[in-house]
């Protein structure tokens, strides 16, 4: 029997060790990919085996389960190409750090967070585009995040912690790092970081929120509503798929900020909503990766049409992900949103209307993307090739997870009750969320 104290260390250690051992097969991309996927699956098994021994935080243990799953689907969906090797190893490193931040208590968790943001900043710099302004803004934002996380780790003060949170779980105007990470990072990193960083942000927020002054909460409240609208507007204007997905998810994350700031607590429903939005966005990024693998990294989505008939498997999976992304039932995004709506005390005002507009806009820009890619005339000059086995597996897994999130009871991942301070959140779990 392992001492429960060491379980978090074990969970963090498996992927980190896996990353280290991965260098042994560095020269063989296929083997490295298989190894990385195996490590994430072992990590998942370890998480499941130790789930009931972990202390539940206010948002539950959902992220601890979702992180290895997201890592494995992100790795599965990649082509076995030399150029992606570093991203696979970094995915394992990020997984280890993420599990560590979520399960190991202070001061290790905050220090690991500083390190994680530091590595992300470095990666953004490494892959930055000097001709694209937001790239620099992204580096700057993550740099600021690293600084704030470092200060918070040393002093435990509320405002730097909150700043780190708004950079991790993007809130306008601190969203550039998130947008740059989703659009600039290579290989398996964007579909994984889309869950990893916001999940850590929400996890940190649970401890930070009670310390934040009311004035600051009001500012967050306003920024969240502006962000929901801003993200939706930006997503509507995009023709580039990764930017569209980045801004679309930003809009949904802002909605989450609005709920969390209003309730001043992080409920399991918030974790479900965040997990679903992030997974769906990651799934759509993986689906877009399928297209990029076939038609090049700089492919214009407007030039690719009529995929429904020649790529039926891709079309079905992409449509299901789109349905989930639009917030339709029975997927997790809808279940999470309903959970948040039903457990919050709302008033008839402009704020719920803005949330509704953000939700409606998602139907517009996501459906537009689906129509653009899947329907219309088939191009005779294009060679169509349906999804490969590993791509199929990764997309099916994402759909299945998001579907399961939509149906599973909220309290499934609540975990063992913590020793102090989190009783109130359990009371809000109701049968209908």
């Amino acid at each position: 029997m392992i001492d429960p104290m060491f379980i978090p260390w074990l969970l963090a250690g498996i992927p980190l060790l896996g990353a280290l051992l991965g260098f042994a097969v560095w020269s063989q991309p296929k083997k490295l990919k298989t190894w990385s996927v195996t490590v994430t699956l072992v990590s998942l098994l370890a998480v499941i085996a130790s789930l009931f021994k972990l202390t539940g935080s206010t948002e539950g243990l959902l992220f601890v389960v979702l992180l290895p799953l997201a890592a494995s689907v992100s790795l599965l969906g990649q082509p076995a190409h030399r150029e992606y090797r570093l991203s696979w190893v970094v995915t394992l490193v990020f997984l280890g750090m993420g599990l560590g931040i979520l399960t190991i208590p202070a001061p290790i968790g905050p220090i690991a967070l500083t390190l994680l943001l530091g590595i992300s900043t470095f990666l953004l710099y490494w892959h930055h585009n000097p001709f694209w302004g937001p790239s620099w803004l992204g580096i700057g934002t993550y740099g600021l995040g690293t600084l704030c996380a470092g200060i918070a780790a040393m002093t435990d003060s509320a405002i730097p912690s909150l700043l780190a949170c708004v950079i991790l779980l993007p809130l306008v105007p601190f969203h550039h790092g998130y947008v740059a990470a989703l659009t600039r990072l290579p290989g398996s990193l964007p579909p994984f970081t889309v869950l990893l960083l916001p999940a850590i942000g929400l996890h940190r927020m649970a401890t930070v929120l009670p310390k934040i002054p009311n004035v600051v909460i009001s500012v967050v409240f306003i920024l969240a509503l502006s962000g929901a609208l801003y993200g939706a507007i930006k997503a509507l204007a995009q023709s580039r798929v990764r930017l569209l997905l980045a801004y679309g998810s930003l809009s949904f994350f802002s909605v989450l900020w609005w709920f969390v700031a209003g309730a001043r607590t992080v409920k399991p429903q918030a974790a479900e909503f965040l997990g679903s939005v992030a997974l769906v966005t990651g799934g759509l990024l993986l689906a877009w990766q399928v297209i990029r693998t076939r038609y090049g990294d700089d492919v214009d989505s407007r030039a690719i049409t009529g995929l429904a008939a020649p790529m039926p498997q891709f079309a079905v999976l992409f449509s299901l992900l789109a349905v989930a992304a639009m917030g339709l039932p029975p997927f997790g995004v809808f279940a999470g949103l309903m959970g948040l709506l039903l457990t919050s005390s709302l008033t008839l005002s402009v704020a719920p209307l803005i949330v509704a507009i953000a939700w409606l806009a998602a139907s517009w820009y996501i459906l537009d993307l689906v129509q653009r890619l899947l329907f219309g005339r088939k191009r005779p000059d294009l060679r169509y090739e349906d999804v490969h086995q590993s791509e199929f597996a990764s997309l099916v897994l994402v759909v299945a997870i998001v579907f399961a999130l939509g149906l599973a009871p909220t309290n499934l991942f609540v975990g063992a009750p913590p020793s102090t301070g989190t009783k109130a959140t359990m009371e809000s779990v109701s049968w209908n969320r």
Binding site: A335, P352, S363, T410
Partner: protein, 568 residues
């Protein structure tokens, strides 16, 4: 009676039979799949018999009292209303599916299409048998997406555009519905229908969204839910999706017009006790329904395409149905939607043949070669007069005395009767194309048919109302809740009477002259032409929505450009 869940599951099984399997057995599987759908229809009939004799059925896969269960509370509540709807949907679904096997034969998309028909039928059946508001909303939304899938064709740009707009407009309604669901839960803390109705009746809640404006809880909830119903039932101004979805295969329209579009009427009936608590919502429904009925019918008259004509006819009929709900005649709306659903499904399934025949034979449809009366005929004139003015009065008094329906005490019933009169007069006069054939036989047949139809209709409606709502006090309470102020009601009746009689006279005189010359001011004629063009172009609503969409996108791109300039 867990077996009741087989009714929605059997069409789903049919969809899976069509979807899964080898290409070689595609046709065979398509035919085999008709049996589960037919079995669902038989199951629905058995369910109707069971609930009519034993009372409502409830099957829950969750415990409402439990603090944590499945995310979506899945359960089935089948009462007489649900059972009637299930029979209608599964019956029409069976006919449409069977018809579609032949209609879509050798079509490259037949597998997808037949699967969607099976799946949509299943979703509709789940929706009408939902045990709670949450499940109803869940299937309500899935239906929006099913409609999008059914209405689009991969390779046809106009169809895709129409399907996109259809889905966007339906989502607007879904958002209002979502708001209503959330508000209902916030105010009453439950999704269970019976508990919701009881709490809404017990707890008078008043909301103040902004200073100086108060609204009662039931009114706020039902108004939001009603907007959701407006979008599905194509009520003005959310009706534009219906004509735009007409590119879809003809059997889709049969299903759409017989099943999906009735969702609004069903919603109001399912939540009748809640709607009955809000006179304001019922009045809004009355106004929206009346406007939709008038505009839909007028636009129908000016269309030159058979499918569009039928589409706008449906909009008019749905307006009529919602108007009935607004009058408190909830059961009547269900009666109407069943009758309309069967009628419209038949017409849609036939219209493909008619188009085909018209293409083969340019003379089709044949005109009646009989000679018409050139001069003024007292017989035809008096027939029209009796039809439009005397018979309604006779019916009013007879139904009050003979059938013991308290029509004189109920505004809603009087308005309903009023519309029976207008519709039947219009139907008879339109069917005979205002021909001045001076024949006692024709006149007597017309009058007797009219009398017979109206009495049978009233009797059937009364029996149906007693079947759906066995408690007469409940029915009376809905009528009472829908009562308009007396002065408004009286002036509406007087105005409508004058308008109808003058219009009938005008149409009669104008049809062939009939030996009378009618002077009409020039400006009226000019206005008539202008209005004709406006209605032929469907009030330019499509263009208006397109302009709105373009405007929104222009603003969006402007904001995006400014933001990009700032970040560069």
């Amino acid at each position: 009676m867990l077996a009741v869940i087989l009714v929605p599951l059997l069409p789903l099984l049919a969809a899976l039979i069509v979807l899964m399997g080898a290409e070689a057995s595609r046709q065979q599987r398509a035919k085999i799949a008709a049996y589960p759908i037919g079995a669902a229809f038989l199951g629905a009939i058995v369910t109707l018999w069971y609930v009519a004799t034993h009372g409502p059925l409830t099957v829950r896969f969750y415990d409402p009292a439990s603090p944590a269960t499945l995310a979506f509370p899945i359960g089935f509540y089948v009462d007489r209303l649900s059972a009637v709807m299930m029979v209608l949907i599964s019956g029409v679904g069976t006919i449409i599916y069977t018809y579609s096997i032949g209609y879509m034969y050798q079509d490259p998309h037949d597998r997808r299409y037949l699967t969607l028909i099976g799946f949509t039928t299943s979703v509709l059946l789940c929706m009408v048998s939902s045990a709670n508001l949450m499940m109803l909303f869940l299937f309500w939304q899935v239906l929006s997406f099913m409609l999008y899938l059914l209405a689009h064709n991969h390779a046809h740009a106009a169809t895709l555009d129409g399907a996109f707009r259809t889905f966007t407009l339906l989502r607007v309604g879904d958002i209002a519905f979502l708001s209503g669901v959330v508000l209902a839960y916030q105010l009453y803390g439950t999704f269970e229908f019976q508990a919701l109705f009881a709490k809404a009746a017990e707890m008078p809640v008043t909301l103040s969204p902004w200073p100086g404006f108060d609204i009662s809880g039931p009114t706020a909830v039902t108004l939001l839910l009603f907007i959701g119903g407006m979008s599905k039932s194509a009520q003005f101004p959310l009706h534009v999706w219906l004509p735009r979805s007409l590119y879809a295969p003809t059997p889709v329209h049969a299903l759409l017009h017989a099943g999906i579009i009735n969702a609004g009427g069903f919603l109001i009936n399912r939540l009748a006790p809640l709607f009955g608590l809000s006179s304001t919502t019922l009045h809004v429904a009355f106004v929206v329904g009346t406007v939709t009925a008038i505009l839909g019918a007028t636009m129908m008259l000016t269309q030159n395409d058979i499918k569009k004509t039928l589409g706008f006819s449906t909009i008019g009929q749905m307006g009529y149905m919602i108007m009935e709900c607004g009058l408190g005649a909830f059961s009547l709306a269900i009666f109407h939607l069943i009758a309309h659903g069967l009628f419209k499904a038949t017409v849609f399934l036939n219209c493909g043949n008619i188009i085909h025949k018209a293409r083969q034979d340019p003379e089709s449809p044949q005109t009646d070669p009989r000679e018409e009366e050139k001069g003024f005929s007292p017989l035809t004139w008096s027939t029209g007069f009796v039809t439009t003015l005397l018979i309604p009065l006779l019916i009013l008094l007879a139904t009050h005395g003979v059938l013991q329906i308290p029509l004189l005490e109920s505004q809603g019933a009087v308005i309903f009767l009023f519309f029976i009169w207008i519709t039947s007069s219009q139907a008879i006069l339109t069917l005979t194309r205002l021909r001045a054939i001076a024949s006692w036989k024709v006149s007597s047949a017309m009058l007797l048919t009219l009398l017979f139809i109206v009495f049978v209709y009233l009797f059937a409606v009364e029996s149906f109302t007693a079947f759906l709502y066995p408690n007469p006090d409940e029915v009376a309470a809905y009528f009472q809740a829908a009562d308009l102020p007396n002065w408004l009601f009286d002036s509406m009746v007087v105005m409508a009477t004058i308008l109808t009689v003058v219009s009938w006279g005008y149409l009669y005189m104008r049809a062939h002259g009939h030996g009378r010359k009618m002077w009409i001011p020039d400006w009226v004629e000019r206005l008539r032409f202008r209005l004709y063009v406006v209605f032929m172009n469907r009030l330019y609503m499509d263009e208006l929505y397109q302009a709105l969409g373009r405007r929104v996108l222009r603003v969006v791109h402007k904001i995006d450009k400014r933001d990009a300039r700032w970040t560069e």
